[in-house]
């Protein structure tokens, strides 16, 4: 197998224990609830008979290991259990909600990269006004909490100017334009902090690369600065930038929980929060599992991509 193939296989194998431990943690969630989880779920007016029925439905009366194996086996077949309030399969709920979360996070990350990377490159390549501007943006991005920015955006764009809806959602396939109108504010709110972070990383990585000898050599050769910056320096600064984008995707997924609730977007994050309030543990388990799995997948893809961008990392891992 080629070194690249070996690297990818190794990386895939490394993800297995993480997924296993995560599944055990999510499985145990319902068992770690103080007191009787079924009693808590059903409320204190539930009859002992109801409690016994639901406990049996959830299989909570069986030995722990048997419960886990049944549960994990179900997961592999796409069975996340049943919502005890709506009686719908949790997998159906997740399938409805997941596209919203993915659209929100992917759009936010795209916006953050499209603004953050070019600004960061420019700030490093041409100090002066752009660098000052980028410094201000980084400070603002660190200080301002995403959901508070969301509230302020609603105040301005939905409250005062009334150009965008304050909350709600229309599916992308039903009406793409309305869909984007509903997503505009949440995406900007979620992307703002990320933009600052990516900008700072890009600027740092570019500063470092532009300071190396081979760049001086290219300059001495008389190659146009523009070409040096975009063709040579950016390519060498790409690995740390992509790494940060991958890590920050987890921050976005976490932020999506709050942003979806703020803007009433029917994503997995909002599903988790409302299910916590209803003590609907089976749905919480499914939601947490899906978001965590999504993040592990993104981390995996990032690692493979970074290995491809910087072959030295692959060699290091194979050694």
């Amino acid at each position: 197998m080629s070194p690249r193939g070996r690297f990818i296989v190794r990386r895939l194998l490394l993800a297995i224990p993480v997924i296993l431990v995560m599944s055990v943690f999510v499985f145990l969630m319902i068992h770690l609830v103080p007191g009787d989880p079924v009693q808590t779920m059903l409320g204190f007016r539930a009859t002992p008979r109801n409690v016994a029925t639901v406990r049996e439905q959830l299989g909570l009366d069986r030995p722990l290991l048997a419960q886990y194996l049944t549960w994990a086996g179900g997961l592999l077949r796409g069975n996340f259990g049943q919502d005890f309030i709506s009686h719908a399969p949790v997998s159906t709920l997740l399938a409805q909600r997941l596209p919203v979360t993915i659209e929100l996070t992917v759009l936010s990350m795209t916006l953050a990269v499209l603004v953050g990377v070019p600004l960061g490159v420019r700030a490093a390549a041409r100090p002066g006004a752009v660098r000052h501007l980028s410094e201000g943006l980084v400070i603002a991005g660190i200080a301002i909490a995403d959901f508070w920015l969301g509230i302020m955006l609603v105040l301005l764009f939905a409250g005062i100017w009334q150009v965008l809806p304050p909350s709600g959602y229309v599916p992308l396939l039903k009406d793409p334009i309305q869909n984007l109108r509903y997503l505009a504010l949440p995406v900007v709110a979620l992307a703002f902090g990320e933009t600052a972070y990516i900008l700072r990383t890009t600027r740092g990585a570019m500063d470092e690369v532009l300071d190396t000898q081979y760049i001086s050599f290219l300059r001495a050769k008389g190659i146009a600065e523009r070409r040096i910056v975009y063709r040579h320096a950016l390519r060498n600064a790409a690995a740390p930038i992509v790494t940060v984008i991958g890590i920050q995707f987890g921050v976005l997924l976490g932020g999506a929980i709050v942003i979806e609730s703020l803007f009433a977007l029917p994503g997995v994050g909002r599903l988790i929060v409302t299910s916590i309030q209803q003590r609907n543990y089976v749905v919480v388990q499914g939601g947490v599992l899906v978001v965590a799995a999504l993040f592990i997948l993104v981390t995996l893809l990032t690692d493979v991509l970074v290995g491809w961008l910087d072959p030295r990392i692959e060699e290091g891992a194979a050694a």
Binding site: M29, P34, F147, I160, F295
Partner: protein, 287 residues
């Protein structure tokens, strides 16, 4: 014959360290003021934060009520001051808790290496492999909402970060000759860790913890905003933001000022952390 003198930093730079940078000084000054506000809230708040005034429902800012009033006519400035006290308490408490457990774990793992390192760091890496806020929300789903649970949840997110930072600075210190010398002399490792490794390896963790403390305020606010943090009648900045949402266009001051308080705090901790870094983390582990 001339001997090249290695570039030894001047003695005075150590003392100036923390406050040498303008950022560090600004951050320090703001922090002192903010902590004073939180501690002396009853003396500073101009009104009773819970006093309902029917004549001032959603009234705008004026001289007596610079931040305006909320839906029950309560003074927003006084409420921000008291809520800030709760939020800052959670932020400081959670970070200290994470520091207290994360630092010894990271130091022990880094100093001993081998299977001890694997045993401690593998689970910690697992926690880092999950989105932080998701983890916090999952923990609250188990235990139930509350500001003390939020504190615990933030500590669980922060512990792995601090342990990682300490571990890497410990690795550097543990390979220094003075540690080797102590080991060769037969000094017990517990004593080496407390006398030599701890004072030399803890700096970056202090820097990191300072910066994390500011962000803890953002996390606390997010959790409380979702109804997963502080529960009424306790009010934190996030609870205020959640309560004021329905009156956003009529009374934006209810939403603006708590957010500004969070932003200023995050910046102050960041600036102060940057100032500390010059003194405590010359190698830039936390960069």
């Amino acid at each position: 014959m001339s001997v090249a003198i290695p570039n030894v930093p001047a003695r005075t730079s150590r003392r100036q360290g923390i406050l040498a940078s303008r950022k560090g000084r600004v951050g320090f000054a703001i922090l002192v003021a903010l902590i004073a506000i939180a501690v002396f809230a009853p003396l500073i708040a101009p009104h009773d934060p819970n006093a309902i005034d029917a004549s001032r429902i959603l009234a705008g800012p004026d001289l007596a009520h610079p931040f305006g009033s909320d839906a029950l006519g309560r003074d927003v400035l006084s409420r921000v001051i008291y809520a800030y006290r709760v939020s800052l308490g959670v932020a400081v408490g959670s970070t200290l808790l994470a520091f207290l457990f994360g630092v010894p774990l990271g130091m022990y793992a880094g100093y001993h290496g081998g299977w001890v390192d694997t045993l401690i760091m593998r689970p910690i890496d697992m926690v880092l492999a999950l989105p932080a806020l998701l983890l916090a929300v999952a923990l609250i789903a188990i235990i139930g909402p509350g500001s003390d649970v939020a504190l615990l949840a933030i500590a669980v997110i922060y512990l792995p970060i601090l342990a990682r930072v300490v571990r890497s600075s410990t690795l550097v210190v543990a390979s220094q000759t003075y540690v080797e010398a102590a080991r060769a002399r037969g000094t017990p490792s517990r004593r080496i860790i407390t006398r030599h490794v701890l004072p030399n390896a803890i700096g970056p963790a202090i820097v990191q913890a300072t910066i994390l403390m500011g962000f803890a305020l953002q996390i606390e606010a997010a959790l409380s905003f979702l109804g997963l943090g502080a529960q009424p009648p306790t009010s934190s900045l996030g609870v205020m933001l959640a309560d004021g949402r329905d009156f956003l266009t009529q009374a934006p001051w209810i939403e603006i000022f708590p957010g500004v308080a969070i932003a200023i705090t995050v910046l102050a901790f960041n600036f102060f952390g940057d100032g500390l870094r010059a003194r405590l983390d010359p190698r830039g582990v936390t960069r």
